[in-house]
């Protein structure tokens, strides 16, 4: 079992590699007959931001949604071969409790999707469905999550207003806070800023940067500048294949693969 694309020790700098949290090996994934991912192997490291970039339809979202088995919701989606291990547990094992997995691996979506409840209830939702009812516990978690999501200051006086009254960027940060409330270790974000304007985007990016102290984050983005800004490691996908994966600096400054280079410098297509 060996990584096809391995970070050259020299390039990863002299610092020690953090432990891997997600290990993907030789993953083939298909929707019905059409294969969407081909033989992908990579490692996602702890407390780093890993960005997936690549042209539309290259399978970024598909790959991301493998990590918390959101693809289970699509009937024809199927992992043909390969394994995904999170903390050394094969998450596609029969014995896996998907619910627990999803608590462990939080997700934030492209379009912010706050529930039409109050801000407080949005955050408390995740705990409530786990049966936590004690209001003191809820209160403190809501506060800490909102603080982590850098939203506390903006909403602390209107926790009981509807979350739909927030602006787009605030909604997206609320969704992040909501995901934090179930205490995940890993956060997946599928184009979290694509519907936001530059200022809101900046705030979310700031937040991602903040969060990486405590969480392992995987983020899909169409915006190369964003990947460059927020991520520690970047993976470039094309036509369902992982073309290059390495530290973000390397990908943007000295990509090894000419396709990667063409893509990041806008010559691609």
């Amino acid at each position: 079992m060996s990584l096809d694309i391995q970070v050259k020790p020299a390039e990863a700098g002299s610092k020690v590699l953090p432990p891997e949290v997600i290990k993907i090996r030789n993953l083939d994934f298909s929707y019905g007959e059409s294969q969407a991912l081909f033989d992908i192997s990579m490692d996602v490291y702890e407390k780093e931001v890993t960005a997936f970039i690549g042209p539309s339809g290259c399978g970024k979202s598909t790959f991301l949604r493998c990590f918390n088995r959101m693809n289970d919701l699509i009937d024809i989606a199927k992992i043909k071969s390969g394994t995904i291990k999170i903390s050394d547990v094969d998450i596609y094992d029969e014995e896996i409790d998907v619910i627990e997995l999803r608590k462990h691996v939080g997700m934030v979506f492209q379009k912010s999707n706050p529930f039409p409840k109050s801000i407080y209830d949005n955050i408390a939702y995740g705990m409530r469905i786990q049966g936590i009812k004690k209001s003191s516990e809820l209160d403190s978690t809501v506060e800490s999550c909102l603080k982590s999501a850098a939203l506390w200051g903006e909403v602390k006086d209107r926790l009981n207003e509807s979350a739909l009254g927030l602006s787009g960027g605030q909604q997206q940060r609320l969704c992040i806070a909501r995901a934090l409330a179930v205490k995940p270790k890993i956060l997946l974000m599928d184009e979290p800023c694509s519907a936001l304007d530059p200022i809101a985007t900046a705030k979310v990016e700031e937040l991602i940067h903040e969060l990486k102290k405590n969480y392992t984050i995987v983020v899909v983005t169409h915006n190369m500048q964003q990947a460059a800004r927020v991520s520690d490691r970047t993976a470039f996908f094309y036509l369902g294949r992982l073309i290059e994966y390495g530290p973000t600096e390397q990908i943007f400054m000295n990509p090894e693969n000419s396709q990667t280079e063409a893509y990041v410098s806008g010559r691609f297509g």
Binding site: K103, M107, N113, F115, I129, L164, C175, R178
Partner: protein
Amino acid sequence: MEGKVIHRFSKRFSKKAFFENLILNILRISTYLVILFAGFIFLDIGINGSKAIFKSQAPFINTDFLTQKPETLHVFEPKHIDKKLKEINAKILSTNIENKNLSNLAIEDSKKNDLLIKSLQAKYHVLDKQRKEERLLFSDTEFRALEIKPSKSEYVYETYAYSGGGIGPAIIGTCLLVLGSIAIALSLGVLCAIYLSEYSRPGKVLQIIRLSILNLSGVPSIVFGLFGFGMFVLFFGWGVSMIAGWFTLAIMALPVIISASEESMRSIPKGFREGSLALGASKWTAIRTNVLPYALPGILTSSIMGIARVAGETAPIMFTAAFALRDQLPWEGLEKASDFIFQGVMALPYHIYVVSSKIPQNEYTENMQYGSAFVFLFIVGFFAISSIVLRIRVRKKYKW
């Protein structure tokens, strides 16, 4: 157009604009035509019907009409007036015929005849008023209670079925039918809708289910009536009974409720479900906490529409649940509790059908006919309007 600068964007007359206006107005007229026609029906039934419903003194509402059982109306009209009226009528008729037979040349004569007719009509009106004052009207019970019946030599005696009393049992029967059937349809429909919108996977089975629902919604109500008759009344041996009506109506309302509920569940953004699942909710939890609560207003709204539809139908209950006349209220004279659901009831729609097709239209029956139609329209309209208003509100409130 002097003094105006003609430039690239300046307005010019064109055939196109004229034609456009023309079409626009044609469309506008056709829209208002529909509105007027329907409005006329509302007005006609409203105005004539309110005569039966409202009174000039307190409590202003004719509660008797709304609560009492239908009875036969016994009418005694004074014979002497009746005779005179008939004579005048005959005269008018003959003059009319004469008028028609006159050739086009005899303008003078026809004018004279017209005058004659007019004077006759005036006379008729006076007499008619008198007749109305002198005639005697009794409902069945009143008539039976009479010690001395009016003599037949002085009065022309006629009876009119259903025209006395009120329509109480029909109102009650309709309400019972609607409540029961909606309860059945709603519980089944919502379950079905949950499956379709949340659990179903595209495939043969789903296709068949959808096709069935679609077809079910198009099946004519009379066929539901036939089916209910064949299955519930005869095969299950329930007889003409409320429960047979319930099930027949429920099955009829089912497609409406299923598709409306499904639609309102589908209109909940996918993000709500995904968001919830991604937080570690099980599928059912996600539905329970994040789909149903938001879909509920929509479901209720459309089920009220279902109520309106169910309440308005006649054909399905004609041979399954409705009696033309039943002078006992549903809770009267029951031997066993189960008899309650195994009895036929009166229902407003069927009642209206009966009184508008089986008895003559005249001044004695008209009031009751219009009154029933008005009450019925009011009940159904109430549900319909509340559903429409609710929907507008719901749509405004929930925008995601």
